[in-house]
Subunit: 286 residues, 6 copies
């Protein structure tokens, strides 16, 4: 079971944040020099800011604003949250690292900061979640709605999400109210962590640390996807998946069989191997 | 088969509309008081308006406008439609009730009115459908396009939709030109009611009253999903599903078997039980 | 295997472009006359422009702009690209024809030009791809990000796409960095042409000429979908699909069996028959 | 003394309004045909509307809106006012005629409707004045502020203004709270009808019917500018000016002398002769 | 000679600021209740903010932003300035009091805060002046340009302005680079404090404490307008004006004569008597 | 009499344009480095552009656009004009030089290009004038209206203006339809070159080369202000002013007397001496 956000020692976290922010500025400076048409954008979003939290607050405020929710209001909201809660910042840094390390298409930290809707939706969600925990629910839900409109990523503000998270591509993700996502998890687009009916209470999946969930997987109900488990693309999962095993198909079955499922690597959420189960599963089919 | 929009007696409908609107105002007033940062938003979208139709027209106009389709034009269009056609208003009220009753994450009517992209897309679609029936097709299609861009909900303006509808989460829904959706239907996100080829004519699914369709289900062709039927998440359905039965899987099979399918509750679209078929279907698999 | 963009003789291409542009203007003029509420929109997007490339550049610039990436900058970028590279224009014309011929819901060329997010995302992608090939990668990625936000269509700028393409509905499409899509291909919404892990290099599908891919299909890895093959809606494909055969299901199997798969029509990407395999596949199931 | 707004018989007024609106549409249609680059603008502001009041409400709403006062709110406000109060419409028509007849640079009614900031500021002021009389003062003052920002025309919402008014060029006009302007008055830019101190009460000028006030004139205090009087450009007037006389200079003197001032034409506000007094006044100076 | 900004004791200033801010909130609350159409505006500009400095920063940021100078950037800039420099806040409070006490048309503090372009331009100028003194001149000049565009008030960022200032109506004011304005000064619209040529250096007027300058007055060159002096509307002043005297006319003369000018009240900038000199000056003229 | 736009040899003009553009870029680069908060603005307006004409077109398009006249349309219009007509570019360069040389507050060319509303209004007017001469009058008038709204500078598109022009501060300028302004003229704010009545035809002032007109001067009728003449601030001029003489006062008189006016320097429009006539005129008055 995911255990929330085990804090790195503050000093280390700060150093890490500083290092990543320095990288981002260096990347943006290099890009601004080589591409004048983009320089204005890079200065407004990154190079004019004195810290990652200001850059991120500015970028999210401008992305998520609407004619009835002004950018200045959202900027203020984000800046207050990121400034006052260091765990939001360290989670953002861990997510930046996750994208950079796990996604071969992620060419730089600034690329993720500016362009990854999964990254941006996740950081905005964390602020919505903070508001939710502070019982500022109408505001949390309004923010939730903007994230769902702008990024097509629909994460209920009550959902608890760890750090070191990669929401790759992200479009179409739906994460329900009582869902929990552990640390170092990678989830592809169109994934649903959904409920099972109209009764309230704890009704959404719990995703263990290090899990990898493939594109289009649908996981429903208050079930556990064990640590380091893998869920294949397009799978429909309605029952617990044991740690370090792989569930594939619709309805999902365990690779290796229900009784003696194959065990794989420890942290597929980091190793990102989507298709090693092919030989067992589909080779004979097509 | 869905039968369109059987009208409640007008007086009753008006009372109902008045009651829901009073609730919405009371909720918004309470939220504005407890959350000053959101008060401006709540006043502009709800509290400054004298009726649900004005509030909804304002909100949709501002959500769906673009630099080339101005909010004033859309506001006018919506207000004319909602003012002149009471069935649009009673359908909106029925949909608000559907969300409030069936979705445990829906904390208030105003929450749905402001934030549910499925609700908003459905109301905007109804106006596009009205335009379509009035042979104002280019305008209907322009509105359709804005709904698809802004909410990632793609409902052809010719599609006929009943009332008491819940499009939950809604992102990624696609509903084709000749599709029909009955009353009291609940459809999750990523659901496709699609066609079968490049020939025109009646080529999309007909969804009976009270149906429940799970996330990511794909239903193709001019087939009937019988009253009170259930389609499991991720299912691919190409053939009729009888009333009160459940189709699951890719390709879909009937729970209980083709010849003697199990019959379940009358109106799953209202009871919202997504996973009761698990014991028959997937328990033995994982 | 797709072979890129075999150029039609320039003169012919120009004539074709002229003919389609004349159609678009005539359609828009007719619609403006019959629907004054839409006339302003039609003049700004189509009727005030002297060429298809100007109209398209204007429309894309206004659709994709944000508060930090101004419409004037994007307009300039698009206009330069479409003006200087005739193959971009001829591909746009081929795509307009594809939508008009293959999608029975496409009532006119102008309908596609203005409203089809798949069409617009594809044209914008082609410009992003041009920037990518010119090593203007940060700009290409910024454009990619806007396309993903605005249209919920996520095509990596390095992906190579032929012409005569129909991305129908398009919401939720994800196409990875090393994917290749041939000519005369039709792809429905929610389709993923994804990678297989965190190692870089050639890791995404190659889609042959004339292929048809149904809604919600997930195709992963550096595999070949042969010319004229068909992938059923909701299928999960991890292994090559031979030419003119149909893969369906999760995991996908070949219709007719692995050893002796049925062969079908030559260019399903054009004939758009999504469901002819039903009799073999799912009839006995429901 | 101006006597407010003596109503023309309603039927006549309506006919007049209809005639002017038909002219405006015909002009706009002609211009849209000859200038496609402007057609979108002309359709959105004029040709898509069914009446002068809708066109004017749309145009003012879009001109005066800001990020905190949305166009939809203002549009609604203007449309309600112009729809419910025919005298606002007949005054607008009289002002359109005044511009067309008195200003040789006014080439058409639509030119005035779209482009004359004096005309637009005056119509918006009339709505602010209506709100003021309805004791909706904060809203009247907010509208006043927007008019002052956008048009640089600062007319206190309590000021009473007749009809057949030409505010030519208009930039920099200031009209105080207790000022009254009669019918058929022409006032050039930079004119001040100001107060005299910090005591409240009736403290601003009363401008009689048919008066002409030249550019940059400053008229201070609760004084009367008699019917048909003329105030020369740049004059500073602190004392009553008798009917049909001309005051010029700083400090102003009466042309012809204080005791036997020259009398001129009856309605200089219509004849617009700014400089006939030259022979008496300044010929001998330069 | 004005002596800059003599600080009130900090505690007193804070109390004063708190009192005025409480008034503003109470006024806005009352207005929001009586006028729902304005409530959204009042919440976004005043009622959602926790301090005057936040309200003012928000309002100025949204008023002065443009498509190339975003509101979030300006908001940040203003908030930093007002938060870090208490003298900016106490000057704003003194200016609010000045408007409330001297202008009979100013019905409340919130009226001034929201709607007085002279007040808003002056506060924004103070921030531009702070930037200028910090040698951030390009930014100061960009802000200056926005103030001139939006409010038609053109105050060079180097100009030094005291507190307790009323810029009444304000449109068209021009204040040059080396101008100095003392405390408790009232200046009407269209007033120029201009230079004399193309040579740099100290070349603009110095306005003493308590001065009153009438509408349209033009004061040129490095001259002194003595403490408590009055300049009549429309006057052109090129030479020093002694304390407590009145200059009127074009060219200006001293009321009472050059040798024995009449002395008047001490602080006309507060008593606001614009026209008491009439009996001496213009009575005999008209 | 002004003689229009005598062309410098093209090669020289181009060199000059290149030199000024290089200065502007260098200034902007320096400012962007020293002030990151402004860098985004400087890149979007100057540093991302390859030529002065592109920078100016972008800046004017974004300044003058509205919700009904989009920036992309205006950008296109400006770019076409500046690209096709080299005299527009050389006039802009001459005006930049005029501001830099004559206005001691003008710290750099980029300062003028970005921030001087007089400069920007003048360049936009030149394009409106080009449209007027091409008989595209409705578009010319729409542009005129935007210039008057945004900059409070109201120059009729038919007015002919030379080059080497400084409109200093510029707010409130009004220039009528048949006015002509020669080369190397400097005009301060609030200056009116107005007509005399409601009869059309040639009715506005003709301003000779090298003239200097002080703030707030009002010049009315088809009169000549001779080459190198000076008009004092606040003057009202209704009759010809001979070359190299100075007219001051309301009504204006010639310094030195009507019969033997004093002659001064040749080109006061360049030397900018506003007040040398003081000794003769007003010394004895105050």
């Amino acid at each position: 079971m995911p255990t929330g956000l085990p804090a790195a020692p503050a000093a280390v976290a700060n150093d890490d944040e500083g290092w990543v922010w320095a990288q981002i500025k260096a990347e943006a400076r290099r890009d601004a020099e080589s591409e004048p048409a983009l320089a204005s954008y890079l200065y407004s979003t990154i190079l004019s800011h004195s810290s990652l939290e200001r850059s991120l607050s500015f970028h999210l405020g401008n992305k998520l604003c609407s004619s009835t929710l002004l950018s200045t209001l959202l900027y203020d909201l984000f800046l207050n949250a990121f400034s006052s809660d260091p765990s939001l910042r360290s989670a953002a840094v861990a997510d930046l690292r996750a994208a950079r390390e796990r996604d071969p298409a992620c060419v730089s930290y600034s690329h993720c900061l500016l362009n990854y809707k999964g990254f941006l939706a996740c950081q905005a969600h964390r602020v919505a979640h903070l508001l939710w925990r502070q019982s500022r629910r109408p505001l949390a839900l309004a923010l939730h709605s903007r994230i769902a409109d702008v990024f097509a990523v629909d994460i209920h503000p009550a959902a608890r999400i760890g750090k070191g998270i990669l929401f790759d591509h992200a479009t179409g993700m739906v994460v329900g109210e009582t869902a929990v996502i552990g640390n170092n998890v990678s989830i592809l687009h169109h994934v649903t962590l959904g409920g099972t009916g109209k009764v309230g209470g704890d009704r959404h999946p719990k995703i263990g640390d290090g899990v990898l969930i493939g594109a289009g997987a649908t996981i429903l109900g208050n079930i556990k996807i064990g640590e380091g488990a893998k869920v294949g693309a397009g799978s429909v999962v309605l029952i617990d998946v044991p740690p370090q095993t792989t569930a594939v198909g619709n309805p999902a079955r365990l690779v290796g069989g229900k009784e003696t499922p194959s065990k794989h690597e420890d942290v597929p959420g980091e190793s990102m191997d989507h298709t090693s189960f092919i030989s067992e599963w589909s080779d004979y089919i097509i």
